[in-house]
Subunit: 215 residues, 4 copies
């Protein structure tokens, strides 16, 4: 199994899932009072924006993570399919959450459902990382051992954080959505991924590493 | 016709079909009792997961099979389009089966319909293989003659197995779905494909063949 | 504008349009009599199969035609976008035709609408070819002048044939659908495209031309 | 982050969004008077054509703009995701505008909503350009300094023009749609982009620049 092909199939699923999100926004029902109708749908737009950001940032980090792999094997491909399933599924809870918030009914259930999907996603990320990094099975030689342990902690911790976000969902669905956006921003800005994106130059952060293009 | 382009078009169809599966899950109708409503839809989720696994594993094996072809010709491209049609169609019977199971009506008809689609898919696989392998028309020279006969038996047998699964569909739709999952797992784990994925090294199974990247 | 990118964007639209066709098949309404309900929807399946074949074969011939171009320019890119629009639009008349035939109402209107879409498609093909081939603007040097005239006749004639098919649509929608399938088969099997697919070797048909991989 | 991958992910989103537009056209409700029913839906077709042209031309200009970048960094990738979000969202206001015009209700609201989406898109374009071009952060050395200032004016001005188009939306939704088409045509034909597409040869317009293939 060629690594480039797995990445390019994954890119396809990411790009399609992110574009398909738009069909989760319910069509307006009342065109006579369209402004009001669209106004009540702002939670669907908010859920759309959050999910779009989540998938976009995950696509970016997928590249960073795969950039550390020297090769892929059949086990990794299956775990990657599991990961892609949680991403391709996201439009469904996004639509349900947006609609529940817009209707003002079932919000907490919808938020828990969204949180469960994100937790499954975090578990798939952790499983993929643990499989690839255990005994450095698929890691590139240039990937520093110290960073491996930090990343393992972070991926494992991610599953706990997303599971915990479901508790918040039971309290307030809007706060839950805000936390999902904040978590996405964290993964967008986390130094680990920024470093990763620059080809895991461990020492001088400001310098341009020679293998940047491969990152 | 360039082989890389056929593969990359096929990858696109696989990636879109697998992502499009999510639209087959019916939106909840009752947001006041959303937890109950989502609960009754678990068969749709189960059908989604099984179809996702089927398309994902088929994508993987499509690569393995095309990895054995030295070139493609126009006949193969048409048979490949036929194969892609059965895959791109799968979201429809998936949605029907999930909905039938969730409603508790029409389950066996829906399962037979799903089984008929999978049988058509198995026939397309067999036709593609027989066309490409007969008199080694498109096979790479490195592909061992002994394996060719085994593969021909397996592809032909697949059509019988999937046709037989329709009989089970008449008895119990849930058992049918379980068998579909089991068949997908078989194709994921079958030694033939694992070997194939490693570049058809016939002798030393444990060794890393030199042409792995092309597999 | 890089030719490879135009082709790869076009491939994406072809692959996505062909996969999106499945959403044109209406979900069954009556799960208590699902077998009967699915039975009445066979015209939707027939329309699906015909449109799938049309887009698949058009994708194949798009490659052949672009294989004759030495380069692309901005004018060609716009005409290609026009062509892609008629292809990306096809799921809509496909759904309308299938539904009209299944309901037994509006069949002829639906068939004319489908025919109008195919005529627009044929006009786009002709415009693209005339633009690219007039004074051999974008043609590869190896493309024979004699074939250029034949192709111009064929593309121009195609617009007339598809326009004429709309007259048949007024008589019988099923016959119309059959003719669309026959036209697709013609474009699949036409010697011009088979030659084209082999890298426009004009002389020895049986020989394998040296530039086959680029075809 | 590899520039080629960002472009190819973007191409995927462009290709899917442009193809997904077709699902925004409402299915006919009355098959007994299908010709009349399809006739009343012509505004949906018009909105479809305009949005298709907008996304297609934007895809083309996305290539031109990225052709001027020597590299991409994480900041640009985020701004590009923001840009892609406004494009992937376009099918929603397209569907709403077409439906509002077809029903003759809510047209102005729908047009303002469409205009707001296009304004957000123009802002994303301007932000992306300003980020990449300020102090020539990511610009290729060959990109002329004089053109940089012109482009900055044009991108900034674009946000004003699209915001102003919302005022027209309040007067007449059809005129608004016509202006959107005209703006798309302007961006298709603007000399800046035509030059850009030829690899920013600033001097001899008629000559074929040596780096055309990279454009």
């Amino acid at each position: 199994m060629n690594k480039g092909r797995v990445e390019s199939f994954s890119d396809g699923v990411f790009a399609f899932a992110i574009t398909l999100l738009v069909v989760t926004i319910a069509q307006p029902g009342n065109y006579r009072h369209l402004a009001h109708d669209l106004g009540t749908q702002w939670p669907s737009l908010a859920a759309y924006v959050v999910s779009f950001a989540i998938i976009g940032i995950m696509w970016l980090n997928h590249h960073s993570v795969f950039g550390h792999f020297a090769r892929v094997d059949r086990g990794l491909v299956f775990l990657n399919l599991l990961l892609l399933m949680t991403i391709a599924f996201l439009p469904y809870p996004t639509g349900v959450l947006g609609e529940a918030l817009a209707r003002g009914a079932g919000q907490r259930t919808a938020a828990v459902f969204y949180g469960a999907t994100m937790t499954a996603n975090a578990v798939a990320w952790a499983a993929l990382w643990l499989y690839a990094s255990a005994r450095r099975r698929l890691l590139a030689e240039s990937f520093p051992e110290a960073e491996r342990r930090v990343a393992t902690l972070a991926f494992t911790g991610g599953t706990v954080v997303y599971a915990a976000s479901m508790a918040l969902a039971l309290l307030n669905a809007y706060a839950f959505l805000g936390v999902q956006a904040a978590l996405a921003a964290y993964y967008a800005l986390a130094p680990r991924y920024r470093r990763a994106g620059r080809g895991h130059a461990s020492g001088a952060e400001g310098e341009k590493p020679p293998d940047e293009k491969a990152g």
